[in-house]
Symmetry: C2
DNA sequence: ACCTTGCGGTTGACATGTCAACGATGTTAT
DNA sequence: ATAACATCGTTGACATGTCAACCGCAAGGT
């Protein structure tokens, strides 16, 4: 265990990393919202409905794939329903709720795809070297949720 | 101009990058909030008051250094004032407002520093290779706000 | 049958952020 | 002086997130 406070240089790495993310992510989101009116959450939901479910998914499936809480999703769907992007109907065969993309939602999504694509290329991919991509891939692996390690360790 | 949609692999890079950030950043914030009750914004404000201003700064200076809107800062300070972390008083010599850290705020900050330090080391720095640090540094440079380029380009 | 438990989803209260409008106070031009 | 404008900050309305409590319904155990 290293209990020393981190150095000024190490703190700088942290700040650089945070601000890179905020700058780049902010630009992508701004382009998307500005040109289509969709937030990142909106897009994520519509995208999954369209690709994984051919237009419809159970609410729980969305919760799992988005890694959101059910509460957050429920609130968000209520707002999206009000805007006419999706609708909800109870499942007949089992308990649960189907979320269905509306035609308005589908056409907004189709408009958004190229916008998102361009934004990610322009604000993110175009900035990356091969080495950066390697680093991103490796870090993502190391930063993954580690469900096992805590359990493997015997409770001392 | 590359107008092609981005590939599946490129989209994966984007998703990996986003989830790394969210995982790591979420862990750091959770540690800090759990052990000290401070949010990232709280810490940023108290840190600047303490380091840059020896306990006090003008609100506008905070706006500039945090890169927040004045509205966001105003709302946030109102909440922090209610919690007894800071207080505000109008400047006498010129217009504007002084934000002053309270003793409660200062001691909470002092408690938080080692917690933040440890969390950044454990959840972030310990995951990085030398190459990652290089990539982070380079990307941060490329992702910086580019105020000049738009002005240098003659309006077509 | 009855009770408990767990799952799927909703709700309300509250924290956090954004945006546009406002107000008060300085600066500048005429 | 006064009109126009910029600066500094507040406010209210609303979007987004989090948390804990709740409700309806299923599945099991007794």
């Amino acid at each position: 265990m290293n209990k020393k406070m981190i150095s000024e240089e190490e703190m700088q790495i942290w700040h650089m990393w945070k601000s890179s993310y905020k700058n780049i992510f902010g630009r992508v989101v701004k382009d998307m919202f500005g040109q289509t009116g969709l937030s990142e959450g909106d897009f994520g939901i519509l995208d999954r409905l369209d690709l994984y479910g051919k237009g419809k998914l159970r609410q729980q499936e969305l919760v799992d794939s988005m890694d959101w809480t059910k509460s957050r999703l429920s609130h968000h769907l209520t707002r999206m329903e009000k805007r006419g992007l999706v609708l909800r109907e109870p499942l007949k065969t089992e308990r649960g709720v189907q979320v269905i993309i509306t035609s308005a939602g589908k056409s907004t999504l189709d408009d958004a795809r190229p916008v998102v694509s361009m934004a990610i290329r322009e604000h993110f991919l175009d900035l990356l070297t091969e080495q950066d991509i390697e680093s991103i891939t490796n870090l993502a692996e190391r930063a993954k949720v580690k469900s096992s390690s805590a359990c493997k360790t015997p409770r001392s």
